[in-house]
């Protein structure tokens, strides 16, 4: 089930999949060191990861892989 109101809500800061993918590794390292700083420096990526299922799945996988190390 999809929440209609939430689903239709878009964030103008959202950078899209292209830029999010391009910077995902940079964002991931920064997020591990300091999540708030990552969000502050890359608000558009945070906005994208909140809205895009596939990119947030990749991000979660990346974080999981780094925790495994």
């Amino acid at each position: 089930m999809i929440d209609l109101d939430a689903f239709l809500r878009t964030d103008p800061q959202d950078v899209g999949c292209g830029e999010a993918t391009e910077l995902l590794h940079v964002y991931a390292d920064l997020h591990l060191a300091d999540p708030e700083e990552a969000a502050r420096r890359y608000p558009g990526i945070l906005a994208h990861l909140r809205a895009c299922g596939p990119c947030s799945t990749d991000f979660d996988g990346l974080i999981a892989a780094l925790h495994e190390e």
Binding site: G53, T57, G61, A65, E69
Partner: protein, 206 residues
């Protein structure tokens, strides 16, 4: 940005010659394969694949991630640790391969009556209180038909109504994630603006 010591060692070894290079390639492959297997395992609940198929997918993802890393190595500037950068390609390859696995049939337009009737349920609206949401859904349909272009309508239908994974839609429509996301984003924005204008949704963040 200067590379950290471990990352610099990876890059130097992978670009070396002879035994050093071969050893680095083997270590990188092990690293990527381990990550690919873990990632495929993490996602296995969402994909209907057998153990053998999952392992095969992990091998392919690791091999293609290896090619991507080696191909782009000269452009690696150390904005992250080397391993973080390398793992990213594993994630992208696992996503692409799982997306391809779901390959079904090309989505089509227009939406028929049965499609329209499935929409309320997708948004958790039950027929019991239809009186409460009938007007909203009528407005929703009108907006879909009049505010969206064909491409946006097609993508909205495939993802929202048919639940086609975005990475699968990339394969079916021969495009990339960014282009589909942009279409979906614009569709979401237009539909919301239309529903707000008609008083069916409120402007403020809830």
């Amino acid at each position: 940005m200067p590379l950290d010591e471990i990352s610099a060692r990876w890059v130097a070894d992978l670009q070396a010659t002879g035994a050093v290079r071969e050893d680095a390639h083997a270590r990188l492959h092990d690293l990527l394969l381990r990550a690919a297997r873990a990632e495929v395992g993490r996602r296995s609940g969402r994909v209907r694949l057998s153990g053998v198929e999952l392992d095969d997918l992990a091998y392919q993802a690791a091999a293609d991630a290896m090619l991507a890393v080696l191909g782009k190595l000269a452009g690696f500037r150390g904005e992250s640790r080397f391993t973080t950068w390398a793992y990213k390609f594993v994630m992208l390859e696992v996503s692409a391969k799982i997306g391809r696995h779901f390959w079904t049939r090309k989505p089509t337009l227009p939406l028929d009556e049965a499609d329209w009737e499935r929409i309320p349920a997708r948004f958790g609206l039950s027929s019991e209180n239809e009186a409460e949401w009938r007007e909203l859904m009528d407005a929703f349909r009108h907006s879909m038909e009049h505010e969206l272009n064909e491409r946006q309508r097609l993508i909205f239908k495939a993802i929202v109504l048919d639940g086609v994974p975005l990475d699968t839609l990339c394969v079916e429509l021969s495009t990339n994630r960014n282009a589909i996301y942009k279409n979906l984003y614009d569709a979401r924005r237009k539909l919301r603006a239309a529903l707000v204008a008609k008083g069916h949704l409120s402007e403020d963040a809830s």
